[in-house]
Amino acid sequence: MTILRTTNLTKSFGSFTALNGINIEVNKGEVYGFIGPNGAGKSTTIRLLLGILKATSGEATIFGRDVWKDAVDIHKRLAYVPGDVNLWPNLTGGEVIDLFVKLRGTANKSRREELIERFDLDPSKKCRTYSKGNRQKVAIISAFSSDADLYILDEPTSGLDPLMELVFQECVMEAKQAGKSVLLSSHILSEVERLCDKVGIIREGRLIETGTLAELRHLTRTSLRVETRLPVPALREMKGVHDLEEDGLGLSFQVDSEELEPVMAVLSAQGIVKLESAPPTLEDLFMRHYEGTGQASQAGSGGVR
């Protein structure tokens, strides 16, 4: 069942196109990772999904309903955590959590206490005195103590310590097990790798890659280090082999995933003594896309002019 779908979602600020034809689909029980360089358009997409910004063209639905027109009804079943949480300096954390939960409508009292405990937050302090991580916790606790069906998280863990980051990941896993869906935008790739079923990579306002992690891995390279009994001169000419280096006894190189089979055949014909392989990390994948498309990647400037 599709929970969230955007079709050709486009947003311009004046003459500047921040988003250009974004297509995303998140199904029930799925965690969708949304990654991309600074200024790529992640937060803009999320704000469109929240009905805070109005799309220039294209369509976006959540629970099968239009995100702009039916915003209020959608939000009754949706929880959002922004990456930069600004709170009211003169209210306490406890008051803010109550307010947020009440505004959504579906409260879960025992969950609130449990989460405050797990995240180790002092709810009697004024928000003015909270550190960045503690403000973030207030937003996370409010989000997870309401029974939402979709969680939209925009860099939710920025500022959390590693221990709290783990607690957060547990919360996401629990939500997923309970059949909830999550859209997670993050710069922490290990987090995305651990939590997400599907990943979308956005760059300069366009979704340049999307699919399951397994599918995406397919597009990248595996690192190999081998020692063979006989030399393998043919390897240098083979398709899909990159960065070949000889170090004394062995060879280390990278090979495109789809060319792995013929390369292995050639290697085993020469008698493999030792083989080490490292799977492609999301980081490798991501780096390739960052730099990949030829044009100099201008840090911080996304979109198409």
Partner: protein
């Protein structure tokens, strides 16, 4: 030590000037232009000594003294004496507001938004940013003093010589310096920008009111007010420099106090202690309306008390006006051009219009709070939950409309009660209340306009403040300068009935009401259709 505390102040000064390269000139030119235009207009409108003397007679009553200050040289009411009497005080208040806004913006506001932290992480001294702000504040006021002084004398109006003109400008400069320092202190005491502005404006209003009571009663009370000091320079009549010098000296002393406080406290902290709060929200807080009220609670209560005091101060003046009238049987005849109404009753509409415009300020602030929240990315917490646009903006509209009514009611109450206490034959409270309520639709039109702008042109919502300022100028100066009717008619306040002297014009009353509500409804509808910043 001292140099390390104020390291790189010069660079910060340049940075502030750069950030305010439009704002400061607009304020300076606005205040200077107002002064020059009025001076020039006086020469045309009151050309003969005879006309000016008649003017002096009408100004010679406690109500006017409370409003514009004590007059000097009334027996020889030259253009200079007229300017110093009727314009100096009010313009000095505007200079005070300019200084307050300037300083608050570069102290607490920057600190609250986290920009100060970035600056402090650079190799600059601990006092540098405050010092730079004060330097710019003082500098701006000194430039204003010279601009006004040289400009006024350059107009070449008889009786407005170079020395008097320079003193006239210096009076502005000293008052501005004083409020620069007051705000610098307020920025240390209060932990946020709103509190800083609120505290400083309170000091400004108190200075004005204390002087009003002091001037009218003739007690030494005016000596407690910096506005009383600059007025006592008797510009163009006796040209005393020392009160202005005293004001400037005290301003420098107060700045030093601010420095000491600033050096003692932590970044982001105020001097008011923090105590643990509630772990649970009260029922009352749990809605956009409740939240809006809670966020503004302190400010609204402070304004409410302020309006009561404002009404009461003017009310107490009415007693003096009453006694004054009883002593001057002959004057009573002269000054009663409207049959059947006492001077006091004639004074009420003028008073009410000023009170209504002042009461508009807290009501407008209440609706503008929504923009402040949006700019700080805090409305997204509401909109990302099941709070509709209508519910959020609607809450603020309700608060603003109610606040407008409540402020006006409290001012009328204060006025009526104080008047009843001091007058021989008291005017019933109901008369004051009706006179105040006659201005309520006009006040609401201002709020309606703000809502409309939020809905359709959110980036220029601030224009409402300019419109309110314009309304004040045409009302306050309109009669004096005999502005054409169409100009005053541009302000909604000009269309309200001046009870009790005028008949209640119900047609206009309801028309204003319809415009106010209509603008608000349009704004609320428009708000559903726009991008929210955060």
């Amino acid at each position: 030590m001292l140099t390390s505390l104020s390291h790189r102040t010069g660079q910060l000064v340049r940075f502030i000037i750069r950030r305010d390269r439009v704002r400061i000139p607009v304020w300076l030119l606005g205040i200077a232009a107002l002064t020059f235009i009025v001076a020039q207009a006086f020469t045309g409108l009151y050309a003969t000594a005879q006309e000016r003397q008649t003017m002096a007679e009408t100004m010679l009553n406690p109500a006017m003294t409370a409003m514009v200050g004590k007059g000097y040289g009334l027996d020889n009411y030259t253009f200079g004496a007229m300017m110093a009497h009727q314009m100096l005080l009010m313009t000095a208040v505007a200079v005070g507001i300019m200084s307050i806004m300037l300083v608050a913006r570069h102290t607490r506001a920057d600190e609250e938004e986290g920009r100060m932290e970035l600056i402090r992480s650079l190799p600059v001294g601990r006092l540098s940013s405050l010092h730079a702000t004060v330097v710019v504040g003082f500098g701006t006021n000194i430039v204003l003093a010279l601009l006004v002084g040289i400009g006024l004398s350059a107009l070449g109006i008889a009786s407005m010589d170079l020395e008097g003109s320079l003193l006239y400008g210096a009076a502005f400069g000293a008052a501005g310096m004083f409020f620069t320092s007051v705000t610098a202190i307020a920025a240390q005491l209060s932990a946020n920008a709103r509190g800083t502005i609120g505290l400083s404006i309170t000091v400004l209003l108190l200075a004005y009111l204390v002087r009003a009571v002091g001037d009218v009663t003739g007690s030494g009370l005016s000596w407690l007010s910096p506005l009383g000091w600059v007025a006592s320079a008797e510009v163009y009549v006796n040209n005393y420099w020392w009160p202005v010098a005293l004001t400037a000296a005290v301003a420098i002393g107060l700045a030093a106090v601010a420095y000491v406080l600033h050096a003692k406290r932590d970044l982001d902290a105020g001097f008011l202690p923090a105590k643990p709060g509630r772990t649970r929200a009260s029922k009352f807080l749990l809605s956009p309306l409740g939240l809006g009220l809670r966020l503004q609670r302190t400010g609204l209560v402070a304004w409410a008390i302020g309006m009561l005091v404002l009404g009461a101060s003017y009310g107490s003046v009415l007693g003096d006006l009453d006694a004054f009238m009883a002593d001057n049987e002959m004057l009573k005849e002269v000054l009663t051009p409207v049959e059947g109404y006492s001077l006091i009753e004639q004074f009420i509409p003028f008073l009410m219009i000023i009170i209504a415009i002042i009461c508009t300020v807290p009501a407008l602030m209440a609706i503008m709070k929504l923009r402040v929240e949006e700019k700080k990315n805090r409305t997204e917490h509401l909109f990302s939950r099941a709070a509709s646009r209508i519910r959020v903006i609607g809450g603020y509209v309700v608060i603003a409309f109610t606040a407008g009514w409540a402020m006006l009611s409290l001012a009328a109450l204060g006025l009526g009660l104080a008047a009843a206490g001091v007058m021989e034959e008291p005017i019933p409270l109901g008369t004051f209340y009706q006179a105040a309520m006659a201005y309520l639709p006009a006040l609401w039109v201002m709020i309606g306009l703000a809502v409309f702008l939020i809905g359709f042109l959110p980036s220029v919502t601030g224009l409402v403040w300019a419109y309110l300022g314009f309304s004040f100028i045409v009302v306050y100066l309109g009669g004096l300068l005999q502005f054409p009717a169409w100009l005053s008619n541009l302000s909604p306040f000009a269309h309200a009935s001046g009870l009790p002297v005028e008949e209640m014009a119900y047609g206009k009353f309801f028309l204003l009401l319809v415009i106010a509500v209509g603008l608000a409804v349009l704004g609320i509808l428009g708000d559903r259709n726009r991008d929210i910043r955060g």
